[in-house]
């Protein structure tokens, strides 16, 4: 059953169609890859899906509900959570505090509780925060300021925060950029574990090896349009896709 379904999703910037009539479907429990050359419109797609940008045309249905035009927090509250291409963290807080904020901000406490509960995190929230760090392999860095973490850990922390917000569909924007082979392998394993725990995943990534090894289905964007769709082997042998990637140096993976 389709968890996410877009119809003719379109976004114009001035004259430029960054995303153009894209029909995208993600089924419950899938890991879907969204790939394409630089500037193909992948991040713009994410921004549209999560309400950071409004579509010029088209609709987005999440779990049977039309969420077109909702604002980011409303979409996050429905379980559609994204990470950012540019590493985005609460820089001055520790890793644990970052995750706690993820838990906390999404906990949807009523207004009364917002006003009158103490700032200190309750023990059960801290325990859950540590669990998330454990799960993502950051337990040893819980008390380090996130700005001081190495790049790879920062990227993973971004995923951990999104996880804390309890997504049903997790959108990951280039989670392994700037990582070495070893690190990116571990992150991809993490992604698979997240899926096996019941979270559906839509993954944007330039690292073809990571994408091909992880995703069951791949959608290729080029100049904002959907160019191809299929299994990794179908996509990687499609002449259109090879043509689009020619000269970008990414296709040879």
């Amino acid at each position: 059953m389709a968890l996410l379904e877009t119809r003719e999703l379109t976004r114009l910037f001035g004259g430029l169609a960054a995303v153009s009539r894209v029909d995208l479907t993600v089924d419950k429990g899938e890991i879907v890859g969204l790939i394409g050359p630089n500037g193909a419109g992948k991040t713009t797609c994410f921004n549209l899906l999560t309400g950071f940008l409004r579509p010029t045309r088209g609709s987005i249905v999440f779990d049977g509900e039309d969420i077109t035009g909702l604002r980011p927090h409303q979409i996050a509250a429905r379980g559609l959570v994204r990470t950012f291409q540019q590493t985005t963290l609460f820089q001055d807080l520790t890793a644990l505090e970052n995750v706690l904020l993820g838990l906390h901000l999404s906990s949807g406490k009523g207004p009364r509780q917002v006003l009158f509960s103490r700032r200190h995190f309750p023990a059960d929230e801290i325990a859950r925060g540590r669990e998330v760090l454990d799960f993502t392999g950051l337990a040893a860095h819980a008390d380090q300021l996130s700005r001081n973490l190495p790049h790879g850990h920062q990227r993973v922390l971004g995923i951990a925060m999104a996880l804390a917000a309890q997504p049903r569909l997790l959108l990951l924007d280039e989670p392994v950029t700037g990582m070495n082979l070893d690190e990116s392998g571990r992150v991809m394993d993490l992604v698979k574990t997240i899926r096996s725990r019941g979270t559906t995943i839509l993954l944007v990534e330039h690292n073809m090896k990571a994408v091909m090894g992880t995703c069951e289905r791949i959608v290729v964007l080029n100049f904002g349009q959907k160019l191809a769709e299929g299994t990794p082997s179908q996509v990687s042998t499609s002449p259109d896709v090879i043509q689009a990637y020619l000269g970008t140096g990414v296709a040879d993976a």
Partner: protein
Amino acid sequence: MPRKLGVSIVLAVLVILALLVPELGGDYYVHVFALVFTNVILAASLRPSLTCGQLNIGHSAFMSIGAYTSALLAKNLAVPFEIALLCGALLAAAVGLAIGYPSLRLRGVYFAMVTVAFVEVIRLIAQLWVSLTRGMSGLSGIPKPSLLGMTLTTRASQYYLVVGLAVVILLVLWKLEHSRLGLIWKSIGMGDNLAQSLGVNIARHKLLAFMLGCFFAGTAGAFYAHFIRFLFPPEFGFLMATNILVYNYVGGRGHFVGPILGAIFLSLLSEPFRGSPYETIFFSIAMLLTILFLPGGLITLPGKLAELKRWRAAASPTPSPAA
């Protein structure tokens, strides 16, 4: 908790000292300290929206709205002081809503520019609407504050009033900052996109923080109007707004007491030059020095000094041979 106890003791001593001002000093000191407390309210009320990352360079506009509303209601319609003050604060908050709501999507410089333009708009309205505000002749004959029908005629009683207002407002703001709400505000200030992506309704929270600040600035303005009993439009201009911002920066943005400390410190130290250009010179130098050499503000000074001392202590017994 010993630390908490320490803080409570310091606070208690401060409150007692504040209450003793009329006993220890004459009317001059009462006057000065009443204005110090007004400034404390103004500085602290700017903090919520600064925490949300909104650089408001026009806070004095809301003080002005509170001041004129309350003064005119009391003077022209004989509205009791408490109600006039409340109306002034509410109107300031309502105007805050009207200007805050459409500027929600503006960030950084753009938001700051709206507030700069807005403070000029309010000043010019006060200046030009002569039939209501008397414009540049200034509004005089404002009734003294009263409580439950009793006029507070002595300077000392008016002073106690502002101390009371300040204590209540600070308690409310402190409570809010240390609640989940305060945490959400802080997260918005640190990264509004990230907060949004994790489910925070940033528009609602920014607006709430902004309006709250306007409400309390309006309260401070209303007290000021009935205390000084003369209002002059340019007083609430850009310079006043900058001062409120300066209290926050010089005191320190990182902690609740920062703006309070900044307001007390700067208002007292600048008192000898009040009204002269030297007051502004003093403020701006304090500001520049803080930003360049103590970016965390005065509240980080003890920490920095302790660090320096430790560093000295570590360095002096064994003069290190190499760097």
